[in-house]
Symmetry: C2
Subunit: 205 residues, 2 copies
């Protein structure tokens, strides 16, 4: 792309580093910003920088937070004996949006993936084990493994399960089965097979 | 969306103001930025702000420029008697990318559109007339109207043409016809009709 200005070119290049943003979109964003007043652009610029300077990761669960310990970890309205292990911050939001879970979280920051060079030491697994051992912030009764249902997720599930087993804590995983609203016809065989295998009493559905 | 942090929420809201960016994409950008180091995020933040603080509009043609007069207007390698009138900065880039035009530009900043409340006084039309009258930056021989082929573009063409006529300058518009690579079957009737009406000698194709 042949841009008429170095300043514009730089901004386009920087914005094009965002996931799913190409140079053409980045240019569109820049030209849009050019038409805004300076206060608006300054607000955007500052709020982006604040992501790095003012946003923390919770010391306990590693979720993003404005405070050192996040509101979920410090709330006394949550079931503090329950930890839901998720891959990333988005997954915390996904589970929170169900309004079905009142326990705490633990954000791993990824899943074990040798192909991508992600090993157990790159993830917040040690701090999870420590939480269970030390009962931080409270005695842990159950760890729910809510990782993606991929090979990497399964590997990570297995790895964590092995470490947690000697600690005498209940370890569960999410139910896998036919999605609500799906017809059986379109469910894949493995999912359908598991949903038969792990069928539940009719009354508890 | 239920975000775990005010800082994150603000950044998502600011980014979601960009054209075509929803809250979900904005969140994805934010979480991506969270994983980058501070220098990268600071660079992005600063280059966005520089769009407002360091980028100018050329005093002559209103194209974006790092300098008061843009490189095109100040170049002596361009045909300075030729002005191509376009709607916006993107259109300058589009024409430049053809490498077929060596004249100057004039960026109107929009087209006349009563529905959107855009009148002639909102556009850089007066400065265009002045350029032709005063010969800025050089004596103007021809003005090429390269506005969109919409009703608004046609209205603006007509308006500018009426103002330029008394000044004795040649006014032309872009050829309208079948696009290169198109089969006639799929060209719309108006375009095909015009391309017959304005047919050109075979040798000059």
């Amino acid at each position: 792309m042949n841009l008429p200005s170095k300043v514009l070119e730089e901004a386009v290049e920087q914005l094009a580093m965002l996931p799913g943003v190409g140079k053409r979109s980045a240019l569109r964003y820049c030209l849009h910003l050019l038409q805004q007043d300076e206060v608006t652009v300054r607000d955007l610029s500052e709020s982006i920088l604040r992501l790095k300077t003012h946003l923390h990761h919770c010391r306990v669960c590693h979720n993003v937070s404005d405070t050192e310990v996040c509101p979920i970890c410090s709330s006394d309205k949550r079931q503090r004996g329950l930890i839901c292990v998720v891959e990333n911050v988005q997954d915390v939001m996904a589970v929170e949006n169900t309004q079905q879970y009142r326990g705490l979280y633990h954000v791993l920051g990824g899943v074990i993936s040798p192909i991508d060079g992600v090993g157990p030491s790159d993830l917040a697994i040690t701090s999870l084990i420590e939480r269970v051992q030390k009962g931080n912030p409270a005695h842990v009764e159950e760890v729910i493994l809510a990782l993606p249902t991929t090979m990497e997720g399964d590997t990570t599930n297995y790895y964590i399960h092995k470490l947690l087993q000697p600690l005498g804590v209940t370890v569960t995983t999410l139910a896998r089965g036919v999605a609500v609203g799906d017809s059986l016809e379109y469910a894949d065989e493995i999912t359908l097979g598991r949903s038969i295998q792990h069928r539940i009493p009719f009354e508890s559905q």
